[in-house]
Amino acid sequence: MRKATTSRPGSRHRAAMRRQGIAFGMIRGFSFMTIALLGLILGFILWKGFRYSNIDRSTLLPHAEASPDGLVLAVHGDQDMPGIDWEELYGMYTDEYINWSKLDQSDFDLVPVAVDPLTEDGARVEAFLFGSEAEGGFPLWGGLVEYAGSAEAALKVVAERQGAVTIVPAAAAKAFPGIKTVPVRRLAIAMNQDATEFVDESYLEDLTAQNIRDLLGGRITNWKKLGGPDLSVVPMAPPMGSALAAEAGRAGLTYPRPTVPQPATDMASYLADIAGTSGAVGVAYAGDATLAGIPLAWMTRVKTGWNLTLRYLLEPPRLSGKTGGISSIIANTFFMLLLTLAFAAPLGVAAAVYLVEYARQGKLLKLLRLGTETLAGIPSIIFGLFGFLFFVNILHFGFGLLSGSLTLTLMILPTIIRTSEEAMKSVPRSLREGSLALGATKLQTIFRVVIPASSPGILTGLILAIGRAVGETAALLFTMGSDYNMARGLFSSARGLSAHVYLLFAEGISFDKAFSTATVLVVVVLLFNFAAKRVIGRMHRQAAA
């Protein structure tokens, strides 16, 4: 049909319209794609910055017990800890941890407090941690442990000292002021040794929550299905009426039908059954199973939480930024920008004044303009090298705020000169004449009329230049150094936001923190751009008036 119509008069036109339609469609498509891509990138950074989501391997079920064996773990009331793993709890009392940085990212010293094991309460705690001697347990109290005469005495220490922990009977901790109790995760899936054998280089895979329900519920009948050996699954039920059975119930684990002819009636024989029955699987306390030498199944669990919190903004960084916040880094960035502005704004405006008002328009001026334009296009790393050589070494300023800010000043000066020059050139001649005709001097005219009239343009240039400075990384590492503590003076090494992002990432310190710092950086840059837009908008409104 198309072919038939080619000779008709309107067809050429229609074909052209169609081509135009396609072209428009493509342009629209591309622009939407660009916008979508932008949104995606920004959204991704913000999302990653605000939330962390880590896949973590553990042998523990996510279920946490408020008071395991009638005991509670007590911490200082200000401690922020939603739950603790059995291994961590055990490690606290066996000298595995000496401070809280790995536990809840605060940097208090860890003070494990135990009730004297010779008292009744103390003996209960010892049995809870290390197993009763009847079960083959042997107390391995760490050297850091401090002993208290009673549960109350132990709680008193914890209430007064942030970083201290203790384990006491639940009744003692109830309504005790100044403390907080932390639920403990200690339920695990114990398996018979045979299920963990290597077969054809394949090993039992990490279990999911669904896998565990299916294993215990008898819906997975062979370990082969989970990458293990060709072996029947024998689900075991914990002793009827035991604390373990009750806890497993609370954790949502069910045993729909009896699985072995005679379910064990006490814990010891239950564990012995798992150890002795090929292919057996059952829920157990991690500590008991480890003591009995029974392997535990690995599970994957996804840990999510807030990454960018108010605390992150207000706390100084610790451990190279792995923990803590970025308060000092935000402050350093602020100092750096302020100092850079203090150098660059007067210099840039003065240079622009010279170029517009005083320099004779000629070859020299053209050369000067070419120079500024070229400087504006030079990669920032070159400025970094120059700054390192000149400010850090030749002038002996060392790595510090001053060297960094001077380097940034050189970097953004051309931009500031260019924009200020344009702004001043656009001030109408009639305003200058008006001022001069009133008997003002040239200098008065410049300071009272020309600069104020061009201030929106000058300000916009400054804001955009500062936006570039805040994103600078490499040049600053060469000149400002990378100390993440708050700068103490002009010659003090300091780290800004972008350098922090770079170092967190490049040194593999923390991917999550890199993203949350990046988010802060993005917000800062957006704020600068927003401010520039507002100023430009005001300028246009003024021009229109």
Binding site: E433, S435, L438, V449, Q542
Partner: protein, 254 residues
């Protein structure tokens, strides 16, 4: 009327922009407390002449001036002339209103401030007096702190006049001050001139013959950089001596 010495006494004034001559052998006296109108076709040198009176042509680097311009008997082109002081005494209103992008108050206080007046009460006084003199006070007294750019064109021009009056000049130069305004604003400014000439010496460039006829006491006709004829306004209009003046005027009124 007693004859007082002329405010300006210009003799054999020649002016060049680079190599092109814009003013040729101008010799003229400008009388005190009168309105002198400068007329002539576009490009004949009226603005250039006006700007020699406050040395605003100095801003253009290619300008060269010869001859003498005596202001109250002293040559303003003499090397020891204080140009700042001259411009303070010889104010200027431009063709297009050029208020500064600041408040009304700051616009008017600008001149006194650059001349060193800091006292708030004094400045308040000056601002009010200048606005009253420029017949603008009643219209704007409630918005002195708002931007001058928000005023209408006619108000802006009167503000510029007030701004000049605030430095208490002696002569006011006006370069086609109403050419960018509507008839009502123009009438207001013409009435204002009537008042101002009692106190100031006014030199006004205009393209509008009726305006020159209405407001001026003397008129100078410029043509191609020459001062062709200078006489009382009525005499020049009704009894021109030079053929070129007659042609221009009859063409204009025609």
């Amino acid at each position: 009327m007693q004859q007082s010495p002329p405010k300006f006494s210009i003799s054999d004034l020649n002016l060049w922009y680079g190599t092109s001559q814009a003013l040729k052998d101008i010799t003229v006296d400008i009388e005190e407390r009168s309105v002198t109108a400068l007329i002539g076709p576009s490009g004949c040198g009226k603005s250039t002449f006006l700007r020699t009176l406050n040395r605003l042509n100095d801003l253009i680097s290619s300008v060269r001036v010869e001859g003498s311009v005596l202001y109250e008997g002293a040559d303003i082109y003499a090397p020891d002339t204080d140009v700042i002081d001259l411009r303070k005494r010889v104010g200027m209103v431009f063709q297009k209103p050029n208020p500064f992008p600041m408040s009304l108050y700051d616009n008017i206080a600008y001149g006194p401030r650059v001349h060193g007046i800091r006292d708030k009460a004094t400045l308040d006084d000056i601002v009010e007096r200048s606005l009253v003199q420029a017949a603008l006070f009643d219209e704007v007294k409630d918005r002195l702190q708002t931007s001058a750019l928000g005023l209408s064109g006619g108000q802006q021009q009167r503000l510029c006049i007030a701004r000049v009056l605030a430095v208490e000049p002696d002569v006011v130069l006006m370069d086609e001050p109403t050419s960018a305004l509507d008839p009502i604003s123009t009438a207001k400014i013409e009435n204002l001139l009537e008042e101002l000439k009692k106190q100031y010496t006014i030199v006004i460039v205009t393209h509008n013959m009726q305006q020159a006829g209405r407001v001026s006491d003397k008129t100078a006709y410029f043509f191609l950089g020459e001062l062709v004829e200078y006489a009382g306004t009525k005499e020049l209009f009704f009894n021109p001596r030079d053929k070129r003046t007659e042609n221009y005027i009859s063409g204009r009124f025609g």
